[in-house]
């Protein structure tokens, strides 16, 4: 059997852990904030490398972004990905999720053959979780989202989707698109052994709008139906209330307050009975 051909989509995002809020202007300080590979895209890379090492696969990382996003691809190569494609053009700027997915779909077609497309569940700078599903839509592929476990058997995958309160096992025939959640694995570190080769400019194929043969009107901000009107910090309404007195008294007060907020209602809490009896014991 030929090695699987896998494409992993990779986005470069600001490390939101390190984004600070300017106390004076209350706006996000992005200056000096390092750019990283979107965390769940690293999980997707790890899945691709699992296939490479256990099944045999040729892996390609695909990234749309400004020229400096090349460093995300270099890191993917240093983790062990075989090839990298950077989609970079002024015409792509301002793309919403739909146009991003459309542009990526054209790049995937340009790359040609593939058996599996892997995406991170969502990006930490947008949290939409839309690009993967939309990309599957443009390519006419079956999509399985929120994968937390993948089993491989010939040309079918059996995947556990981690949903909020349950798990779903789904079987799918390749080719398919899978978005993976953080819980699926622990992504490896890049290897120092791979760095010299990863940073060889020849390793990365660069594609522009012209290469994709897509008119500018179908790209970027112009083509995007979603327009961001304003970005702001939500006002914080949280306030702390200190309870005082004996521990048992404080616990009783706490439960009363949670009850008043309906936080202990049965549909939320299957342990209501235990809570009640504990309360009565106080």
């Amino acid at each position: 059997m030929h090695p699987l051909k896998i494409i992993v989509t990779v986005k470069q995002v600001p490390d939101t852990n390190q984004v600070k809020i300017d106390p004076v202007t209350n706006s996000l300080v992005r200056e000096g904030v390092p750019s990283i590979i979107n965390p769940e895209d690293r999980n997707a890379i790890e899945v691709a490398l699992w296939f490479k090492e256990h099944v045999g696969a040729e892996t390609t990382a695909l990234c749309m972004g400004p020229p400096q996003a090349v460093s995300a691809l270099e890191e993917a190569l240093a983790m062990g990905i075989d090839k990298a494609v950077l989609l970079s053009d002024r015409a792509f700027a301002g793309s919403d999720t739909l146009v991003t997915a459309f542009t990526l779909s054209r790049a995937v077609m340009k790359i040609g053959t593939y058996d599996l497309i892997l995406c991170g569940r969502q990006a930490i700078d947008g949290d939409t979780a839309q690009v993967g599903p939309q990309l599957a839509g443009f390519l006419g592929l079956p999509q399985i989202t929120y994968a937390e476990e993948i089993q491989y058997d010939g040309m079918t995958l059996t995947i556990r989707r981690g949903l909020e309160d349950s798990n779903e096992w789904i079987r799918v025939k390749l080719p398919a698109l899978v978005t993976v959640s953080a819980g699926i694995n622990r992504p490896r570190h890049p290897s120092l052994y791979n760095i010299v080769a990863a940073c060889d400019p020849e390793r990365i194929t660069r594609l522009t709008a012209t290469d994709l043969k897509v008119p500018a009107a179908m790209l970027g901000l112009t083509a995007s139906p979603t327009k961001v009107k304003k970005i702001f910090e939500p006002e914080r309404h949280a306030r702390a209330e200190m309870l005082e007195g004996e521990p048992s008294h404080m616990a009783r007060q706490l439960i009363e307050k949670l009850r008043a907020l309906h936080a202990l209602d049965r549909e939320h809490n299957p342990h209501e009975r235990e809570v009640s009896s504990a309360f009565n014991r106080l």
Partner: protein, 390 residues
């Protein structure tokens, strides 16, 4: 290509390349997950970070600037110092273990070794299958290594080594030790030869681990050579080529230690910023007081100066230019900067700075040791002075 050359020749470029940035990000990432959670405990319990080193080895940390052909990563010296700096920010002990292995064991074998020596020793060292050490210091020969007393006597195609080496980093854990021994009693430094000694040769007694002020997770031991038989094929470089040839390759080690010092200084500084902006006295953060601000300003400035010296020494080496004086300047200034920054950091933390639960307490102890090994500050000044007066 020609235009690129013109471009680079015209400007002075302080930018790191993508390769440098990726090497640094990788080391930072690895230090955060593999060292940070354990470093304090290793320090307290004098535990050698063996498991973490195995992980580091798999990722290439034991052959950073050794070419791929010999099992290394083929990274340049700037990448090397960035990596050591990042490790040291989190765990100065791991940084010195990696630095000694790379720069004063693997690197001299790469520079001076025969093809056969490289295949037998350098390849497993760079792959991290074997750990390296460097043994020069003796009870009676510290700053003055030319007076060393360990002797190597020739018997046919072997040498027999007798003598005592002291304060050897990786002493008990290393598999391969570069040993400096006297092959000619009639000469001083020209009577000294470097040997590649495999611990399995036998005749080496490992003393107990020293209980140290700082850098406590690295094992520092006495090595006693008692009729240790070493094949003549394991002479590194020329017989009696002198300490000079060996010491030349050790210059790179100084840059590594300078990078380690830089990392410790940065850690002390970052902790001080964090603490002084949070700790309130007299109703405001202590960082509002000018006395504290001046300390922070001095730390930031000295760290930038140290960084320039360290990176520049590595940059000179990468360009094949002489860098001995610059390496000494970097080692001297960065280690003294680390000590000054750590002292200020403890001061800024007040009583908390004296507590083992606070990171700066370890910086303070580690910094002092860095001013001493791989040539004390006095010896660095001596080397620099020799260079500027010759």
């Amino acid at each position: 290509m020609a235009t690129l050359f013109l471009y680079t020749a015209r400007i002075m470029d302080f930018e790191l390349t993508n390769q440098h940035r990726l090497a640094r990000a990788t080391a930072r990432d690895v230090a955060r997950t593999e060292l940070a959670p354990y470093a304090q405990e290793w320090d307290q319990t004098m535990t050698f970070p063996g498991e973490a080193l195995k992980k580091l080895a798999r990722l290439g940390f034991m052959g950073i600037s050794i070419p791929k052909a010999y099992g290394g990563c083929g990274l340049d010296s700037i990448s090397y110092v960035l990596i050591i700096e990042e490790l040291a920010k989190v765990c100065a002990s791991t940084a010195i273990i990696v630095s000694v292995h790379n720069s004063v064991c693997a690197y001299p074998i790469f520079m001076l070794g025969t093809e056969e020596q490289k295949q037998s020793y350098l390849v497993p060292l760079s792959r991290g299958e074997k750990l390296g050490a460097f043994a020069l210091t003796e009870p009676n020969a510290g700053s003055d290594p030319a007076s060393l007393e360990t002797v190597a006597e020739r018997h046919g195609d072997h040498f027999i080594l007798n003598g005592t080496k002291t304060f050897i980093t990786n002493g008990s854990t290393a598999d391969i030790v570069l040993v400096m021994a006297r092959t000619d009693r009639t000469k001083r430094s020209r009577g000294i030869t470097a040997f590649i000694v495999d611990k399995s040769f036998g005749g080496i007694i490992v003393g107990s681990k020293e209980n140290k002020l700082g850098i406590r997770a690295s094992d520092t031991c006495e090595l006693i050579f008692k009729r240790c038989t070493v094949p003549a094929a394991n002479v590194l470089g020329e017989l009696g080529a002198g300490l000079g040839a060996a010491l030349d390759t050790l210059t790179f080690g100084r840059v590594g230690v300078a990078a380690q010092a830089l990392g410790v200084a940065e850690c002390a500084f970052e902790e001080s910023i964090r603490y002084s902006t949070q700790r309130k006295q007299f109703g405001r953060p202590i960082a509002d007081f000018q006395a504290i601000q001046w300390m922070l300003a001095d730390m930031a400035t000295e760290i930038e100066a140290a960084r320039s010296l360290v990176y520049r020494a590595a940059w000179l080496k990468d360009r094949g230019k002489p860098f001995a004086a610059e390496a000494s300047m970097a080692k001297l200034y960065a280690s003294e900067t680390a000590m000054r920054c750590a002292t200020k950091a403890v001061q800024i933390h007040g009583g908390y700075g004296c507590m083992k639960d606070y990171r700066v307490e370890r910086c303070f102890r580690d910094a002092k040791v860095i001013e001493i090994y791989e040539g004390t500050s006095e010896i660095q000044r001596l080397i620099i002075a020799r260079n500027v007066t010759k």
